[in-house]
Symmetry: C2
Subunit: 451 residues, 2 copies
């Protein structure tokens, strides 16, 4: 929903080139809301409004536009002004942004940037996707371990111009090796003893991550230790950057969505659903659908194998979908519960026996309940009046539900044990296996009961 409330006034101010009013507009509200009010403007108009704002306000507002709008402005506006804007953006955000921009334009912009910014962008772009290096920011409050509290505060006031927010102060030696951290709270509460040195104040038992660590590991560490930001170091413990809480929230949401996609048998998307190209999306769904389709072909051969019983008792085939979908549903419940519990670290591999015990209990409870409904439905719909005929359905349902819960719970654990992502053991995959198993169970129960 685009907010059009301010558009007429903004266009009027632009026509009059009213610098004061436009400057006020840019600073009056939270930058996120200012951006919202401008979403209805054309790229040229937005860029003109932004030219009336102070540089740091301009980048703040710009960063709250939707990514597509940012990209289209970067690509359409004067390269030199764009380069000025890019130079002021947060280091991690601008790398993500340039990722989406046409390569030729990126090259032109890079050449117009100050050498330090250019190097920083090139370095950050070199880290593989989904690693700590790729999501970290290089804007970090670095302080020399020999500074006193008073000197540190002065240095911080100087650095704070360039920093988005001060989370922790990172204490380094002369060659940038990370030695410890001091919190803003500690610094403030030491104001009375302002000649204490940072190295005597700092906390030196630190949680850090390596630039090449997986982003999911980073998110788990930050969540576990309740950190505002975690320092990223290279193999030699040199401070490369930090990853802040807001990026961690993004990672957590991204990983949860990836798991949900895997559970549904979709290879995780790299972009949002709407932005993913139809062919890419078809490929990511198609590989799984094809595997599952081929597995389902086996059910046809299985049924062919039991043709004799099926031909003999007409009603047997009517309940095939019921048997199959009941097994699939109970299996996908179990696999999703176990996969999400593993992701939240509520369940660990060594809990396997407990998980199997619980799923067996649940399988029997749920299976018995559904079997009772199945018996009543089968008895009245068959109309043969034979109890042993009608018993085929409930016995099959009970066995299928128990197998479903058991397989659904153990297959993700098995995958984890093999060092694979448990979410790969998706619900449709579990359901595919249970389809075949369900038919075998159903036909054998029928062979035993229908004599």
């Amino acid at each position: 929903m685009i907010n059009t409330l301010y558009l007429p006034e903004l266009r009027e101010m632009l026509a009059e080139k009213s610098a004061d009013q436009l400057g006020d507009f840019c600073t009056a509200l939270h930058p996120a809301r200012t951006a919202e009010f401008m979403e209805g403007l054309l790229d040229d108009e937005v860029f003109e409004v932004l030219s009336y704002a102070e540089p740091n306000v301009r980048t703040d507002i710009f960063s709250y536009f939707p990514l597509e709008k940012q990209v289209s402005m970067i690509q359409s506006q004067d390269r030199r002004s764009v380069a000025e804007l890019v130079a002021d953006l947060a280091p991690d955000d601008r790398v993500d942004l340039l990722e989406e921009v046409n390569d030729k334009i990126v090259d032109e912009i890079l050449q117009l940037l100050p050498v330090e910014e250019r190097r920083d962008i090139i370095r950050l772009r070199s880290y593989p996707e989904d690693t700590a290096g790729a999501i970290m920011t290089t804007e970090v409050a670095k302080l020399d371990e020999n500074l006193t509290v008073r000197e540190a505060l002065d240095e911080l006031a100087r650095q704070s111009e360039e920093l988005e927010t001060i989370y922790y102060l990172y204490v380094v030696d002369q060659t940038d090796h990370l030695r410890g951290i001091v919190s803003a709270r500690q610094l403030v509460s030491q104001l009375a003893k302002s000649d204490t040195r940072l190295k005597d104040l700092m906390e030196s038992d630190l949680s850090t991550v390596n630039v090449l660590d997986d982003q999911e590991e980073v998110a788990l560490k930050v969540a576990h230790y309740d950190l505002l930001a975690i320092p990223v170091v290279d193999a030699k413990q040199r401070l490369m950057g930090i990853i802040t809480h807001d990026d961690v929230i993004d990672v957590v949401r991204e990983e949860a969505t990836e798991d949900a996609h895997r559970i549904a048998g979709v290879d995780p998307l790299e972009q949002s659903y709407i932005k993913t190209n139809i062919l890419t999306l078809s490929y990511k769904r198609g590989i799984w659908l094809t595997i599952l389709f081929c597995a389902a072909l086996l059910t046809a051969y299985a049924l062919g194998h039991y043709e004799e019983s099926l031909a003999h008792t007409a009603w047997l085939k009517w309940f095939i979908p019921l048997v199959i979908s009941t097994g699939g549903n109970s299996g996908s419940q179990s696999s999703t519960l176990v996969i999400t519990a593993l992701a939240m670290k509520d369940v660990r591999l060594h809990d396997w026996l407990l998980v199997i015990k619980r799923e067996l209990q649940m399988g029997f409870l749920l299976g018995t309940m559904l079997a009772a409904i199945g018996f009543v439905a089968a008895y009245f719909s068959l109309g043969t009046g034979s109890i042993s005929d009608a018993l085929v359905i409930p016995i099959t349902v009970l066995l299928v539900v128990v197998s479903g819960t058991l397989l659904g719970a153990t297959l993700p654990l098995l995958f984890l044990r093999l060092g694979l992502d448990p979410a790969l053991m998706s619900s449709p995959f579990v359901a595919g296996i249970i389809d075949i198993l369900g038919i075998v169970i159903y036909m054998n129960v029928a062979l035993l009961m229908l004599v």
Copy 2:
């Protein structure tokens, strides 16, 4: 995995009552790691070790133990020492903790607490679950709007004793109405002009949430504005507390898990998988399984209705599971993609036409591909040599996949339009509808082709 590395040393120090060494152990490492090293100790031993730590270190370490261990210590240890510890815990954490403790013991502990702490706990416990009030902390840096920067720093140094971390400084009037915020960075960079008043420095365009707002709304707001913490106000704009980034990460993970459970047809659990009672879990799964089972019974009646064609052509029934599971898989892919895209706000309700167009395209692409495989498999396995016989399978597969993608994508959108949670339109539910539709399509294609 319990870390047993330090256990012998710790037990020796306890036997010797070596206060210095135990005090050192408590402060040497990050409290999370100290807690890890003590996980193998008995409750009595842990509590004894903690008695050698400073009160704030003690609560820090305590808060990193797993919840069950915290609860068992609260329930087993001397009430008076427990009350001392509880009084020092973060207000939001201790409320969550007491939620798990036996009510009788909670009452005994409450009576031993200072009156202010007791009132705070009772008030926080009164907010409904999943609201902002229930997850906020009441520990917040509140400063009067008339203070100067210098006075504010002094006041802050005083308050910082009681605060976990300083996020933003909240500026209030004399009756606690929230007027604005000042960041730690602003305060530090204004050190030179230390007689500026907070009211001239503060940002007054604020994002706030109401105590009764849903936690999911809170998480979206914090993520959207990239906030460290969001202030919680009552209807009269009085500052009640703040919700911090770490609690937001927990909410995001919790909500993602709830969505995953709904997608798999499990009513969301209130506790972790392992801690949920078997009967509760069976109920939460059973209601959905029963609904789906009854829907699947309809497939049996549908097949009974087509008995004539089925009896006439034996191989028709062999492909029933294939048709049904292919429809279900493509439908559950689509519904999961749309549900997760809605949760991430990548897709909104007004995008419905675009979503339908994309799913139709994808349905035709994927359906055609699977139909081709299906044709080859059917042609060779039937062995009748009749092309028109073998064509029944591919035509059915194409139609079923297109219906599956279309229904899977539109049903969650329809639910959202009706004001319901789109994740309720779970994959098994979509699959249940497609099962019946699939059989109707299959039988009618067969009637048309097999003349």
